[in-house]
Amino acid sequence: MATATGALPRFLHRPTTYNGIWSWVVTVDHKRIGVLYGASALIFFLLGGVEALTIRTQLMRPGSTAVSPDVFSQLFTMHALTMIFLAIMPLGVAFFNLVVPLQIGARDVAFPRLNALSYWVFLFGGVLLNAGWVFGGAAGDGWFAYAPITTSTFSPGPGMNFYVLGLLTLGVSSVAGALNFVVTILNMRAPGMTLMRMPVFTWMALVTSFLLITAMPVITIALIELGFDRFLGTNFFNSAAGGDPILWQHLFWVFGHPEVYILILPAMGIVSEVLPTFSKKPLFGYPFVVFSGLFIGVMGWGVWSHHMFTVGLGAVANATFAITTMLIAVPTGVKIFNWLGTLWGGSLEFKTPMLFAVGFIALFIIGGLSGVSHASPPSDAQQQDTYYIVAHIHYVLFGGAIFGLFAGIYYWFPKFSGRMLNEGLGKLHFALMFFGMNVAFGPMHWLGLDGMPRRIYTYDTAMGWDFWNLVSSLGAYALGIGTLVFIWNTVATLRKPHDAPADPWDGRTLEWAIPSPPPIYNFREIPHVHARDDFWHQKYTEGADGRAVPVPRGGAHQPAAQYGQGHEDTHGIHIPGLSYFPFITALGLGTAGAGIALQQTASLAGVIVMAVGLLVLFFGAYGWAFEPAGPEE
């Protein structure tokens, strides 16, 4: 098949550049793609943060007129979509890309170009989702988008079109990425890396990938049905023709609840890596942590109707889902207890990653416990759609997912940038986040129980909600300042020369055995794994009293020698070739999506844009199909 490249235009000959901006467009290296995912996700995180601060500014005082009601609706909708689909999910995927191949001792993922495609489709999907801001209003019916308010009758503007096309595009990216990681993790582990020797983060990546593969098609169908209603005039959610609004809710939450675990499991995996490293102890109860993660993943499919306790599904359905929901608290508790067991008796060193990991546990406990109070339908009837729920999800997704992901950023930043982030600024960042988080979201529990509904752009001073709204907004600003500290730290660090050693934290897993930043081929020799936390066991052994004892340096067990890092010879290492086609294919897909989304507002322009997009898409796919997978000979 290699000869087929000759048929392509000259400028599309296989790229060979490893420098400059262009090299990032054509890269298929999992580490670079991970960096692209992470950087894009952080930029979207800032966008979602600005949206959040605007919301809090509007709600700081009663009767405020900082933004109009419709803009407010768009802000809370886009804040949720941005944080979920464009910040937390891709940050998780960024770590899958950066860390998983290194943790399993692989040179790349199974399908490097598919991996690049996932990233570019994600980026264009994110842009598409946000394009509504420019084309007459972003989506404004809530991220859950309960039909029938999303139909053309009640939302004639283009916002929901961008919602449908943006999320469909992001779904393609997620499924492609998840398929890749399932194959990578199941097929490409280094010799000796059995499933039960895999680092917990890799385990959680595997569970999350399975959830993505199975959950995404369900929301895809829901979005296709909604899109057909809007573009073709079908009746799926047209109540005048008998379309049932509850169909959307079932499809949405059958996806939506696994989605919650898609958001939190990577963070749990990160915490399960960080705690042992900074406690100088192995993870307590490894099999229990792994199986509770698996159990959560499976159980996540059986609890969706707890989002629908007020829908009127009946006493039996509500009782059933109340029980399954309470049941899922048990494996979550098991994880927390095992993390405590990991800390117990350790030698805890509070570097920034450890602070965020412990902060994660402290805050996730609160989020988990408040969750139990709306696992009970009669109690939930008062809490549903109030600020109490807003408090709960932020303790779980901010105190949980975001804190876990920040732990991961501080933990692995030296590995991939070759530079150590400033510890003092890191601790300041943590302090501002921990303080701001509790001040911003703690009072929302109270506001909700005091009867403040979600998604209201204004409230009367007579309702008695003024004080805690003010406090909450001030807490949100503290979070904003904390984020600025983080940006300052990151930017300043990236301007420094490389100063990170290969193993700055005295790590346990394979990624710490290779230089920081890792060479493009990761491992000179594919490592042979003999135990869980194999790298730790190269450095330490257990004494008679069960304490860890360092292995003498310079001996046969020296880690570098073990993983072949001493050799200079890199001849014969297979590196996947660079390619333009993932970018081109994704560009075509995104453009076609934009064209479809624009049909209702500017039909001719929309058709043209769609046609151009499809042409680019087919060109990209065609070129890809005839491009050999390996490097140019």
Binding site: P69, V334, G345
Partner: protein, 358 residues
């Protein structure tokens, strides 16, 4: 001890925590209009009881687990110059079994009252009830009393100590019916009818608000429940059943108000559905409140404004200013057709007419 080396101001922390608890506690039984801590009927009270059971159970777990976490963080901190590495514990199966079973048992404590409450609240008690059919619209509430032939809007009159059984539905998008002091939410969904019931134990005014995001004016979609003695309620019903107190004002017809508002008795069967169908087909109409006995209500615009001449004038002159996005301002000919536009005299006449509809 670690504690000394850290010089943590324990007294200050304890004092501050106590103050915080006191503040929170004193706030726990407030008179705020939508507080769920001040139930005035059985449904809301049972829902609060369940929340309190869960809250105190969770508080216990919180103290134990966070306490263990804080203890571990301080107790096992790496000390300066510490040489030997910690003991490498890998796990402990009896411990794992324990901390799987104990949370499960704690959850049983919550699950049992949860299930009993779900089924206890599912159906209204036997005996005499007041039936109400509530229909949600963007962004107001229609209340029908089918047994007595009364249609009203945004103010739900009920007798005390008698179960009120509601049939809840919507004609446009999903809304949610919520009176925090009387009952938690039940969604109002087009194509479906949900049943719920509640009762009030004391006379009074209770605030309700839409709890499911329903569009631009979702924040302003409020209503009131007026719980009164049976005698007062009966008198109110009689007043609602009376014929219109005044003949329809000329302006009311000329300016197109009758397209959406009924002023000659309860809504005829299907009239709101026809208005909704018209809206779906792009005509400038939408289901709107029945105004036959408008002047017996305390508020206007879904509980937003007290009913007064000034407020009514403000509303009629520019509904979008009072309640952004509302359908009257968006659709009514009076605001979009030059030949139907309202002069000051028209507005004054409409205010006077509406205020006469006792």
């Amino acid at each position: 001890m670690v504690v000394h080396s850290l010089r943590i101001p324990w007294r200050l922390i304890i004092l501050a925590s106590l103050m915080l608890v006191t503040v929170l506690w004193s706030g726990c039984y407030p008179s705020n209009p939508q507080s769920t801590f001040d139930p005035a009927g059985r449904i809301a009270r049972e829902q609060l009881t369940l929340f309190q059971i869960i809250f105190w159970t969770a508080a216990f777990v919180f103290v134990v687990v966070e306490g263990a976490l804080i203890y571990a963080v301080f107790r096992f901190r790496k000390k300066a110059g510490q040489q030997p590495l910690p003991k490498q514990t890998h796990g402990n199966t009896p411990l794992e079994v324990t901390w799987t079973i104990i949370p499960a048992l704690i959850l049983v404590v919550i699950a049992v009252p949860t299930i009993t409450t779900i089924f206890a609240q599912a159906d209204a008690p036997e005996g005499e009830v007041v039936r109400v059919k509530a229909v949600a619209h963007q962004w107001w509430w229609e209340f029908n009393y089918p047994e007595v032939g009364v249609t009203t809007a945004n103010e739900l009159h009920i007798p005390i100590n008698k179960p009120i059984t509601l049939q809840l539905t919507s004609q446009d998008v999903i809304h949610s019916f919520w009176i925090p002091k009387l009952a938690g939410k039940t969604d109002m969904i087009p194509t479906r009818t949900n049943a719920m019931w509640f009762e009030a134990e004391e006379p009074g005014l209770f605030y309700g608000q839409c709890a499911e995001f329903c569009g631009t004016a979702h924040a302003l979609m409020r209503f009131r429940v007026i719980a009164q003695s049976q005698a007062e309620f009966d008198a109110w019903v009689a007043a609602q059943q009376a014929p219109p107190a005044a003949p329809m004002a000329r302006e009311f017809g000329l300016k197109g108000c009758t397209v959406c508002h009924t002023v000659n008795g309860p809504d005829a069967e299907g009239v709101q559905e026809r208005r909704m169908d018209g809206f779906r087909q792009g005509q400038p109409q939408f289901p709107a409140p029945n105004l036959t006995h408008f002047a017996t209500r305390d508020t206007l615009a879904a509980g937003l404004l007290e009913r007064s001449d000034d407020n009514l004038r403000r509303w009629i002159q520019d509904p979008g200013e009072v309640k952004p996005g509302n359908r009257m301002g968006e659709l009514a000919g009076a605001y979009h057709n030059a030949n139907q536009s309202l002069s000051d005299a028209d507005v004054a006449a409409l205010v006077a007419y509406l205020q006469s509809l006792k």
